[in-house]
Every structure is written in C-alpha cells, then in structure tokens.
Amino acid sequence: MPHALDLANLPDADVVALALEGREAAHRELIRRYERPVFSLVFRMVRDRELAEDLTQDSFIKVLSHLDRYRSEFKFSSWLFKIANNVAIDHLRRRQLDTVSMDGSPHATTPDAVMASAIELSDSSESALEEMEAKELGTAIEQAIARLRPEYRSCILLRHVEGRSYEEIATTLDLPLGTVKTYIHRARHELRRALEHTRE
C-alpha cells in the first residue's frame, strides 16, 4: 500500500480505489483534499459556521460510506460537490434560510453565537488602503452572494470560487447546460448591481 506521502501525489480515482480496498489513510486523504472547498461552499450556502461544519461532516460521511456507488467516468470532486450542494440545499429548503446576514447566523441566540457565526475575511493586499478596499469589496460580494437564490449561489460559487467549467457544473447540479449558463449570467448581473454602490 502507498505511504501517506505517496497518496498526496495520486489522482483522485486512485485514492478512491484504495479507499474501496478499505484503506483508512485513503479516506483521510480524500477528506484532506476537499474539506476546505466543500466547507467553503456549504458555509457560503448556509452562512452559519457551526451548521456548515455539521453539513460538511454529513456530506463526507455520505460520500465515504457509499464510495461503491461512485461512477469513475465522472470526477470524484464533482460527485462530492453534488452531494454537499444537495445537503446544503435540502437544509435551506427545510429551514427556508434563503437570505442571511454577514454579521452572524440568524439562528444565533447569544452575542457569542453571533460572533462565532460571523464571517471573517482576510486578504493579503500590500497597503492598508488596498486591504481596506479589498475587504470592503470582499464583504460586499459575500453579502451579495448571500442574497442570491440558492441555485444561483451554487452555480456562481462552483464557477468562480471552485473554477469549474459550465459542463462540470451542469453534471454536478443535475441541470441542463443552458440553465447553468442562464443562472450564472443572472447571478453575475445581480452581483454587478449589488456591487455598484461600492464603486461609486
């Protein structure tokens, strides 16, 4: 069996094959590779850190417990994002949590919970002014993303944060390619309008 160091260099399909052979290290490698992208997607969908932690955990448990259902003709990451997105969308449908605040979870009941669930942004800009402007734009766009319809939000995050192609997004979200293009076009339009005030 390959060592942990080798696992990091293997393509997803090979790591999945090792996980199917019952190698725990391969399971952990898949989590290591995708915990940040999946958590980021789910967090931006539900806007609640604690909830996003739970939903990310649920997504990984679903994926790793049913690896035998993974079809190797698709990218593993697309399958994983599909499940994570479905978990987040199902939750939003149950809770009807379509619009939320950047300043903390709407379900937070104490000041500490509000602080804990608020989104913190960091940026590596060089000057303080650039940093402030970038943070302002970053905060504005996070707020604007939070106001998008969930299906627009999934599409735009997969396209521009995860760098997925239109075809991959269509496969991941089980949507026709034309619908994905429409959603992304509308999401960009809404975000552009939402950001207009930051440029004035």
């Binding site: 199917l20 052979e21 019952g22 190698r23 725990e24 399971h27 952990r28 989590i31 290591r32 915990e35 940040r36 992208p37 958590f39 980021s40 967090f43 996003a52 932690e53 990310t56 955990q57 990984f60 448990i61 790793l64 417990s65 942004l121 960091s122 940026d123 970038a134 734009l137 970053g138 504005a140 766009i141 996070e142 735009i156 521009h160 944060v161 760098g163 293009k181 992304i184 076009h185 960009r188 339009h189 975000l191 552009r192 950001l195 440029r199």
Partner: protein
C-alpha cells in the same frame, strides 16, 4: 468599427475567457467601443472579486469526526491478498526463490494427485476406511460426552428418539451457539460506539 453594441451573452463569452473563432470580432469591438469596454470592465470586477474569495477552513477535527462514523471494510479478496503479501519476502531474489519453491511443491502435489487418480480403487477403499474410523471416533466421543454430562438415562432417551432427536439436539446446539455469538457481537458494537 461595428456599431452594434455587444449582447449580454457576448460579454459573458469575453468574461469567461473564451478563445473561439467568433470571439475575435467581439474583442476587436471592445477595443474600439468605450461603452462595451466599460460593461466588460464592470463584469470583470465582479468575476475578479469572486475569484479572490478565500476558502474557509473547517474545524481541524473534521476528519476525526467523519472517520468515527464511516465504516471501513476490507473486502475479503484484499484481506487475502494482504495476508499473502505479508508472508512473501520483500527482496526480489528471495521472491524468485519463493516462486521456484512454490512451483516445485505445486508440481509435486499435482503429480501425486495424478498418481492417486490412476489408482482409483485403492483411493476409494482407503477413503472409506478412513471415513468409517472417523465416524466411529466422533460418535464414540459424542456418546461419552453425553453420558458423562447428562447420564445414561439421557443417552437412552436420545437413542430412543432416533435420527430426528439427534438432529433436533444438534440444531438446538448450533442455534444457541449462533445466538450467543450474535449477541456478543452486538454488545461489542454497542460498547465501541459508546466509546
């Protein structure tokens, strides 16, 4: 200069960095049209802001929490392969030697089987003799066990009930053993989950 301004989907093509044959005229138009260039710049600000968004890190114990709930099964064929590979030497010359010895032993066993098959009568006779002795040994031992544990009367009852009684007794024993194993396994699973 083409005076038709770009359509929204044409702006999207440029935003997505498409590089097809039809995109060159769109780029040429943007280079000359201030209005379309401003629309493209606006669109690019949004895209650049999106692409600069950071990934958030989940709790560092996520992997532990996930793995605590994911059953990891080693399939039988993988377990068998692992067992074999554990016994095999790692050095290449030693592996070659093991292959030569294994092939020789397999060849000798095959020859022995062929020799035995050519003497079918003798094999059948020897097998029958062995089976008879084994049967009498097993039955004798079972009788001794029943008599020593339950007494002569139980043995007499068992003999009176015939084959059916023996079958019921054996099935009862197997059922009890199986039930005990399953109960212990469930108990072990429950306690490991609690832990």
């Amino acid at each position: 200069m083409n005076h038709r301004h770009l359509l929204p989907n044409e702006i999207d093509l440029l935003v997505d960095g498409e590089a097809g044959f039809g995109v060159a005229p769109l780029r040429a138009h943007v280079a000359e049209c201030d209005e379309c260039r401003a629309r493209l710049d606006d669109a690019m600000i949004v895209v650049d802001a999106l692409e600069a968004l950071p990934h958030f890190a989940p709790d560092s114990r996520l992997a532990e929490r996930v793995m605590a709930q994911v059953p990891v099964f080693v399939p039988a064929h993988v377990a068998a392969r692992d067992s074999v590979s554990r016994w095999l030497p790692t050095a290449r010359p030693a592996r070659a030697a093991a292959a030569v010895i294994g092939t020789s032993v397999a060849g000798l066993l095959t020859l022995a089987m062929v020799w035995l098959a050519s003497r079918g009568d003798a094999v059948v006779f020897a097998t029958g003799l062995f089976a008879d002795r084994l049967q009498s040994l097993v039955l004798g031992t079972a009788r001794d066990v029943v008599v020593s544990v339950f007494g002569e009367s139980a043995m007499a009852t068992l003999q009176a009930s015939g084959t059916l009684g023996v079958a019921v007794l054996v099935l009862g024993f197997l059922g009890t053993a199986l039930g005990t194993v399953l109960a212990l396994r469930r108990l072990a699973t429950a306690s490991s989950r609690r832990a």
